[in-house]
Amino acid sequence: MSKAHVSPAQDRPSPADARAETRVVVANQWQLIWWKFRKHRLAMFAGAVTIFLYVVAVFAEFFAPYSSGTYSAAHTFIPPQSIKLIQQTDAGPRFYPHINGFKVQVDQESYKRTYVIDESIIYPVGLFVRGEEYELWGVFTTDLHLIGAAQFGDPVYLLGTDRLGRDVLSRTIYGTRVSMSVGLVGVGLSLLLGVILGGISGYYGGMIDNLIQRTIEILRSLPTIPLWMGLSAAIPLTWPPVRVYFAITVLLSLIGWTTLAREVRGRFLSLKTEDFVIAARLDGVREMQIIIRHMAPSMTSHIIASVTLAIPGMILAETALSFLGIGLRPPVVSWGVLLQEAQNVRSIATAPWLLFPGVAVVTAVLAMNFLGDGLRDAADPYQA
């Protein structure tokens, strides 16, 4: 870096500094949080990734080239195809995004099918292409897809296919919807339990506090996954997918609420003795009013941060259970359900691309961890 970029040391506050200071003094809490959060580059990036994942979840039909159930018996275990942007023609190179076709070779001894890229076959690929028709949220019908084969029907599978010839990319995109929402719904339920029980515990103290704290300790000392396995194995096979989905989220939140309850209790304990709460109480404000009007607003930012940090745990738990086959079950598509296809070394050895939903899991969990970390730091804007 050149010297010219280094600003000269300033001893006296400049007018600009003074203005900035006034701005800080009059800013409300959310502005302060936002300013502090904005400085946290990694958290900002993670926030963008998180938003992107939820957008994908909402518009899964549009982002996915195929529907989650589309299969093609002739195209099983196709390896990922790489997009080539430039095509060499007689008239020189030209911009023409495409993938190469493939030939099937059958090993005469083992009858193993292998795909060999055939440079002579070209399938053009494009953005905003017309493909399978779908109904977005059951409201309007369209056949527009973000990416896919430019000519409907060409075998374009960017991330390969599974044993039934289903597109891994499309299924991962559809899985986003279920996996990301399990986290949200589960955390919503945990939050409800956590805030109510943690609030009661922190506000009233004494016997009730003791009881709730002991309960939390017991729940926290339990090995969650064996317990989840036992409970979710009891979900009847005959239940419709939606009910299984809710049963699983309820199970996850039955144990997940403890962390949030602890957080809420801790905040309540420290806020209870703050001057403004005592002042409100001396003024004769009702208990509920104190909690909702005066105490809750100063905790929201912390709660939002801990909620964000709780979601990844839920996503991981759902993935683990579905992976074992005792969580969500096909035809529901979640990342865990997809990873079930890659349950043993043999299937991974034939088709390592089946692990791609795992990349999605890691991305989502990482993004939400960084986001939550940034939010937690920003939640206390008065601290340096």
Partner: protein, 325 residues
């Protein structure tokens, strides 16, 4: 100290009762009772006298609390966990070795986590905001984000693809059903490193964060400056007090790392096909072999509760202030 331990053990009693109720609930949850599934699975017809005897033994005609009492008292008084109808053997015959192996793996992993996390955490705190620190942070976060079973799959794939060997299992084939000998123990040690690394990754990542944060808190305190001003060497300065103080929360962290380990090992063991409780529980749940499943959940829970208790006592011993709280 004795009072503190006594109080902790007293707290253990309600916990154990709650755990046993949950485990019993798991046994009861599937539709139909144990006998119905037994009869439907049996190949030859079971004569009525045998059915009646079993009905009597588990108290199936009696109210649920009587059934619960029969189950619990059988375990506590006679060590009788009921029968596994899939294996047609008493549950207690099936579980002890697997429970022991679960414990061995968990303890090894715990040791691994400590040995790896503490030095890295110290390094990361002392060299805050250097490239090494950032590297540790990033790797740590990724370690936290990868589900155990996914890591297991990826490592198995790498071992298969690049080293041409199929890893998995805790013993070489010739030792699986062998009696415990020195050779078998050595054989286990040569297999145990993979599950230990897989299970330990997320715990290590978490503890590095804890260690780093604790040590940073300590390093900014005045006594450190004072000691430095007196000319203490940096190394002694670091290890004499700050590291020791920073280790305290790490001991209490065992209380939540241990349940997470036992819990995580359930899935990893299924993927790696280890002879621990995880795969047995999985199979028993699929076969609705509920007395086996319930007993496993009960014992694994008790195992973690005892682990938590030990870490609490350890912490109180290291940091006497805890006892006063």
């Amino acid at each position: 100290m004795i009072w503190y331990i006594a109080r902790r053990i007293l707290y253990l009693i309600p916990t154990l009762i709650v755990v046993s109720i949950i485990a019993f609930l798991v046994i009861q949850l599937p539709p139909g009772d144990f006998l119905a599934s037994l009869i439907s699975k049996a190949e030859e017809t079971i004569d009525q006298a045998q059915v009646d005897a079993l009905r009597e033994r588990y108290g199936l005609d009696e109210p649920i609390y009587v059934q619960y009492w029969k189950w619990v008292s059988g375990i506590v008084l006679r060590g009788d966990f009921g029968d596994s109808f899939e294996w047609n053997r008493p549950v207690s015959d099936l579980i002890w070795e697997r429970l022991g192996l679960t414990m061995v793996i968990s303890l090894f992993t715990l040791a691994f986590i400590w040995v790896v996390a503490i030095p890295i955490g110290i390094y990361s705190a002392v060299n805050q905001y250097t490239i090494g620190d950032y590297l540790v942070t990033v790797v740590g976060f990724i370690g936290l984000a990868i589900p155990n079973f996914l890591l297991a799959l990826v490592l198995m794939y790498i071992a298969f693809r690049y080293f041409g060997q199929s890893v998995g299992g805790l013993f070489s084939p010739e030792y699986i059903d062998a009696d415990w000998t020195l050779e078998r123990a050595l054989d286990m040690l040569s297999h145990i490193w993979l599950p230990v690394i897989i299970l330990g990754t997320s715990g290590t990542a978490a503890l590095i964060r804890v260690m780093r944060a604790n040590l940073l808190d300590e390093l900014s305190k005045l006594y450190v400056d004072a000691a430095r001003a007196r000319g203490l060497s940096e190394l002694r300065l670091l290890f004499k007090y700050p590291v020791r103080v920073a280790l305290n929360p790490l001991v209490s962290a065992v209380a939540w790392v241990f349940p997470a380990l036992v819990s995580g090992s359930a899935i990893t063991s299924i993927v790696l096909n280890l002879q621990t409780t995880g795969p047995l529980l999985y199979r028993s749940l699929q076969a609705q072999d509920m007395y086996l499943a319930g007993s496993l959940i009960l014992l694994v829970s008790i195992l973690t509760i005892i682990g938590t208790l030990v870490s609490d006592i350890l912490l109180a011993w290291i940091d006497p202030r805890i006892q006063l709280q």
